[in-house]
Symmetry: C2
Subunit: 168 residues, 2 copies
C-alpha cells in the first residue's frame, strides 16, 4: 500500500481523491445527456423512444438474436421489451422469425426499413462520438474505454465483451 511515503502515496494517487471522483461522476452525468440527445431528437415525433432505439441497435448488432438474449442484454422485463418489439414488428421495422431448431424461440432481424432507421440513429450518435474521439485523441480514447469497462458490472462486462467479439 505505502508506495514511497509522502502524503498521498509516492506514485501520486491524487487521481483517486474524492474531488476527482466527483468530477468523474458529474462528467458521466452530463456526457450521457449528450450521448442520448441526438437519437432522442430523431425519435421524438415518431412513435418511438429510447427503448426502441436500444432494441434496434442490438438487433442490428446481433441479427437473429432471440428475445431472451435481448432481454439479458437490455436488462428489462420481457413485458417491457415485448411492448417495444410488438410496435416495431407491427410497423415493419423488425421481423420475428420462428426458430427452425427450437420453434419456441423467435429470431429477430431488421427489415430494410428497420435498417434505414438504425442507420439514421447510429449515424447521428456516431457523429458525436467521432467528434469527441477526434478532439480527445487516440490515447484519451483508450483510457476512456478502459475506465468504462472497469465501471461495468461483471455480468454486463461479459455481455459487452461477447458483443465485441462477433463483429458484424
Amino acid at each position: 500500500m505505502a508506495e514511497h511515503s509522502g502524503q498521498g502515496g509516492g506514485e501520486s494517487l491524487l487521481f483517486l481523491t474524492d474531488e476527482q471522483l466527483r468530477k468523474g461522476i458529474e462528467a458521466m452525468f452530463f456526457a450521457y445527456r449528450g450521448f442520448t440527445e441526438d437519437p432522442d431528437r430523431i425519435l421524438e415525433g415518431m412513435d418511438y423512444g429510447r427503448a426502441h432505439h436500444r432494441a434496434i441497435h442490438f438487433i442490428h448488432r446481433s441479427p437473429g438474436t432471440t428475445v431472451t438474449n435481448l432481454l439479458s442484454i437490455l436488462g428489462v422485463t420481457k413485458q417491457s421489451l415485448n411492448r417495444v418489439l410488438r410496435a416495431l414488428v407491427e410497423d415493419g421495422l423488425v421481423e420475428s422469425r420462428i426458430g427452425r431448431q427450437d420453434k419456441r424461440e423467435r429470431h429477430l432481424h431488421l427489415t430494410e426499413q428497420g435498417r434505414a432507421l438504425e442507420r439514421e440513429l447510429s449515424d447521428a450518435q456516431r457523429a458525436r462520438m467521432r467528434a469527441a474521439y477526434r478532439a480527445a485523441g487516440p490515447v484519451a480514447v483508450q483510457g476512456f474505454r478502459q475506465v468504462l469497462e472497469a465501471m461495468m458490472d461483471p455480468d454486463l462486462r461479459r455481455q459487452y465483451n461477447t458483443l465485441k467479439e462477433n463483429g458484424p
Copy 2:
C-alpha cells in the same frame, strides 16, 4: 487533413473507424448501467428514485442554489423538479429558504438528514468510480474525462465547468 497519405491517414486514424465508435457507444451504455446501479439499489424501498438522487447531489454540490439554477443543471421542467423537491422538503431532507436579497428566490440546502443520505449515495457511487479509476490508472482517467467532456453539449459543458470551479 491528409497527414501523410497511406490508407487511413498517416498518423493512424484507426481509432475513428465505425467499429471503434460502436464499441464506445456500447461501452457508454453498459457503463452507465453500472454507474447508476448502486444508488438505485439504495433508493429502492425508500420512496425515492434517481431523480431525487440527482437533486440531492447538486444541492449538496452547490448549497444555496436556487430552483431555477437547479432546473438548468438537471434539464427538466419545473413541474418535474417540483414534485421531487416537495417530497424532499416534506421529508426534511432539503430546506428551502426564501432569498434575503431577492425574496422570490428559494435557496436550497440539505438538512443533516439530507446530508446523511447524500453521503450514503455518493459513498456507494464513488466506491465504484474509485475501483474503476484504480484499475485503469491515472493516464486512462485523464483520457476518460477528456472524451466525456468532448461528448457534452456546449451548454452542458459550460454547466459542468462552472460546477468544477466552485469546489465545495
